[in-house]
């Protein structure tokens, strides 16, 4: 009965969402203040219903209720409690419910925290969010009901895919969804502004913190997924240009552009229609990502339900959302004229270039991701696009972007005042050059063009980002959260570039064939297989190896890679042994039994790789700090 009540709650939530969207959109149009006032309670109701529904599903997992098809397909009584909870979003149906819950969570946050907004405008924002909710709840109820029964109930479940039994992957979908869905808030603000035909600097000030927070979630979500792929898939890299990765990266790039364009709109009242366009694009790409992943049209390391009905539903939803938003845009954007100019090297210009380069980068990723689909659909042959395409095409706009950021960070609004900051620009560049030369002399490995370039632009950006806050601090000026957050995020981007350069340039990797007692060399490192023994885990048994790693004859790491066999799904899993050191990761993964007592061992030493994810985390923290700046926390609204 309880399970059915979860289903019923979902229906009630759908009704509340319908109510919320109709009153929220029609109320302001008819100027019915009683309608407008009833939107917020509808949000509360929707939140309660979706939360209850999710709670029912979680309790079905926790209590091992295998009479629920979804639980039986994705859980098992031997599964540890943490993974029984995270199994809720381990497959399609539950992750949709999670998506719906996060969406209504964001809606609730907007309803509660936007007291300063004009009532009619808030009602419209909530109305648009309600419409999106209606779409997703309908989708869940019509094609992907997680509460479907399986009778008679099987004695035990089919278990969660062992790949997903991992703490980072338990947190990855909620974070990523919080980012995806958070972009719906920016989208709803954009739609509400277009409906009203009015977009002022106050609008940008309301929208900006929401966008920054959504961006922060998206950043953390992508980083967690990347980290997981690194240690769980055992491939040992941080990014594979996998279509599913790209699907989350495209909205990230556009949302990054949106954050910067919002800065211009907030401070100067410029780029209005461009900002709207980016807000629409960012959320459209989130939806497109969902479509690509859920419909199974992409070939990817992630395996997904390929259900044509689902793909079709999302496609229709996508067309409706994007189509109506762009129609609204075409109709209303001409109303939004910006009327002031700016000089060539003013901050506006730099942010314009930032936006162009980010959108070009997103377009390149889009082209590479969609090309296989388009070629296949047109019968031009089945092709695949890999890093040989993505690396150069992505670096082409992003390297200039990072170099421009180091200069543009010193620019001022409206006027070309860069010449006054020439000292700061040149000194940071000189110091970056000096550090890069010293580092390269210490670790010279023959001419690789991108190594010095990456090091220089990375260090330069890091230094440039810190010039302004250090300068203010030394002069005893106040440091606003916006300044600190911005400096942190940009310095973190510099750190990201440096660590990616180090990983790409100085990684040592080799596949070895080792018997117990034998050792093999990987560059200046030596891997020795000391022992192999059997272990038993909660729902798997494992073969565990002891591997000792030496650098120039000195022992640096003891690694314990495992090969696990999960009982229920009879699936072999590689559990890499990783020793995280402050400057590098020493990595070993067991391959397979080669016969003659030998095992294949994937041996890798990657410098600075953890800083790739640390940098992403710092960027997200920077965005959150900036989003909580004093000017966003003021209660009074400026019309």
């Amino acid at each position: 009965m309880i399970v059915e009540s979860g289903h019923f709650m979902l229906v009630l939530a759908l009704l509340a969402a319908c109510y919320q969207s109709v009153l929220g959109l029609v109320g302001p149009a008819l100027q019915r203040s009683s309608w407008i006032e009833s939107v917020r309670p509808a949000v509360y109701a929707q939140f309660v219903f979706v939360s209850l529904s999710l709670a029912v599903l979680i309790s079905a997992f926790v209590q091992n209720d295998f009479s629920v098809l979804y639980v039986a397909s994705n859980s098992n009584s031997a599964l540890p409690l943490l993974y029984r909870v995270s199994a809720v979003w381990g497959a399609h149906e539950g992750s949709l419910l999670l998506w719906a819950w996060i969406l209504v969570g964001w809606t609730l946050a907007v309803a509660l925290l936007s007291k300063g907004l004009p009532a009619a405008f808030l009602a419209r924002v909530l109305g648009v969010l309600g419409l999106i909710s209606v779409g997703f709840l309908l989708f869940t109820l019509a094609t992907s009901n997680p509460f479907e029964r399986l009778l008679p109930a099987p004695p035990d479940g089919r278990d969660l895919n062992p790949l997903l039994q991992d703490p980072a992957l338990a947190a990855h979908p909620p974070m990523l969804y919080a980012g995806y869905v958070g972009l719906a808030v920016a989208f709803a603000f954009a739609c509400a502004a277009m409906i009203e035909g009015r977009l002022d600097q106050a609008w940008a000030r309301w929208t900006r913190p929401w966008t920054s927070i959504a961006w922060a979630f998206l950043t953390v979500g992508i980083a967690l997924g990347s980290w997981w792929a690194y240690y769980e898939l055992g491939w040992g890299g941080y990014w594979f240009w996998d279509p599913v990765e790209n699907a989350s990266f495209m909205p990230w790039l556009v949302a990054t552009a949106l954050i910067h364009s919002l800065a211009v709109t907030e401070s100067r009242g410029l780029f209005k229609s461009w900002t709207l366009l980016l807000a629409i694009l960012a959320f459209s790409l989130s939806l497109l990502g969902t479509f690509l992943v859920r419909s199974g049209v992409l070939v990817s390391v992630h395996s997904f339900a390929a259900d044509p009905a689902r793909g079709f539903f999302i496609l229709v939803f996508l067309v409706l959302v994007i189509g109506s938003a762009f129609a609204l845009y075409a109709w209303r954007a001409p109303l939004l004229k910006s009327n002031s100019g700016f000089e060539f090297t003013s901050r506006e210009s730099f942010l314009l270039f930032n936006n162009i380069l980010l959108v070009v980068a997103a377009a390149a990723v889009f082209a590479g991701t969609m090309a296989p689909l388009i070629s296949d659909a047109l019968g031009l042959g089945t092709l695949s696009v890999g890093r040989q395409f993505f690396d150069p095409v992505f670096l082409l706009p992003t390297l200039p972007l990072i170099a421009l950021a180091s200069v543009g960070i010193h620019s001022s609004w409206r006027k070309s005042r860069l010449s006054e900051r020439r000292a700061a620009i040149l000194v940071t560049l000189a110091v970056a050059l000096l550090i890069a030369v010293i580092l390269l002399l210490a670790a010279w490995e023959g001419p690789k063009l991108l190594t010095p370039i990456g090091l220089i632009v990375g260090i330069w950006l890091m230094l440039s980002a810190l010039v302004d806050p250090i300068d203010r601090w030394r002069r005893g000026l106040s440091l606003g959260r916006a300044t600190i957050g911005m400096a942190l995020a940009h310095a973190a981007l510099g750190l990201f570039v440096i660590s990616v350069t180090a990983v790409e340039s100085y990684t040592r990797e080799r596949d070895l064939a080792l018997a117990v007692g034998e050792s093999g060399t990987v560059g200046e490192f030596e891997y020795r297989l000391d022992a192999l023994k059997m272990l038993e885990g909660p729902n798997y048994d494992a073969l565990r190896a002891d591997v000792t790693v030496f650098e120039n004859g000195r022992q640096i790491s003891l690694l314990h890679p495992e090969k696990r066999n999960y009982w229920v799904q009879r699936q072999m899993m590689t559990e890499a042994g990783i020793d995280m050191q402050w400057s590098r990761d020493v990595f070993a993964a067991l391959g397979e039994d080669l016969g003659a007592g030998r095992w294949s061992v994937r041996a890798q030493v990657r410098p600075l790789i953890n800083y790739v994810w640390l940098a992403a985390l710092l960027m997200a923290i920077g965005a959150v700090i900036a989003a909580t700046d004093r000017r966003y926390r003021r209660k009074d609204s400026v019309e």
């Binding site: 397909s73 979003w89 381990g90 497959a91 399609h92 992750s95 895919n161 790949l163 992957l169 990855h172 979908p173 990523l176 969804y177 599913v244 989350s248 990502g289 992943v293 199974g296 070939v299 390391v301 992630h302 395996s303 997904f304 339900a305 390929a306 259900d307 100019g341 060539f344 162009i356 070009v360 390149a364 082209a367 090309a371 042959g381 089945t382 092709l383 695949s384 696009v385 890999g386 040989q388 395409f389 150069p392 095409v393 082409l396 706009p397 596949d511 064939a513 018997a515 009879r570 699936q571 072999m572 993964a589 391959g591 397979e592 080669l594 016969g595 003659a596 030998r598 294949s600 994937r602």
Partner: protein, 157 residues
């Protein structure tokens, strides 16, 4: 410069930049896209000799061969019509198995042996790469010789 001239310069600059980027992207695309071929196409000489491509099909049972204790291995990829021998040195994925779908990246040698530098097998044991399923389906008049249904066992996203 007047504001008008400046805007023209800006727009022309942006257009040049974007079209240059587009051209470079297009050429990178030409150079670096890998096409997919099945063993029948390879046998018919449709696959390129000098370029990397993707070879997909099923691992023919009883053909996986490895000299004990060595990383070198070979196996035969089949679409139940023609076979191609594949040699590979390195670690194969956990889900590489006989009678399962596989995709190999690499080049075709002059002797007709495919030298792979990367082997992909999907992480769900019932899952077959869609292009392999498609290629095999065509050979069998729409009937699959083995269970191809990708089961719903997806990651969160």
């Amino acid at each position: 410069m007047t504001p008008r001239q400046r805007r023209v310069v800006l727009v022309v600059g942006i257009l040049c930049g974007v079209s240059l980027a587009g051209l470079l992207a297009l050429s990178a695309f030409r150079e670096n896209v890998m096409f997919f071929f099945d063993p029948t196409q390879v046998a018919a000489g449709e696959a390129p000799v000098d370029k990397r491509f993707r070879l997909g099909g099923m691992v023919r049972p009883g053909t996986v061969d490895r000299e004990a204790g060595s990383l070198e291995m070979s196996f035969v990829v089949t679409d139940f019509n023609r076979d191609v021998k594949v040699v590979y040195s390195g670690i194969i994925p956990d889900l590489f198995r006989e009678n399962q779908g596989v995709v190999a990246h690499g080049r075709l040698g002059a002797d007709g042996v495919f030298v792979a530098d990367e082997i992909l097998a999907k992480h769900d044991e019932n899952y077959m790469p869609p292009e392999v399923a498609e290629a095999i389906k065509k050979k069998h008049g729409g009937v699959m010789p083995v269970n191809p249904d990708p089961r719903s066992a997806g990651a969160g996203i």
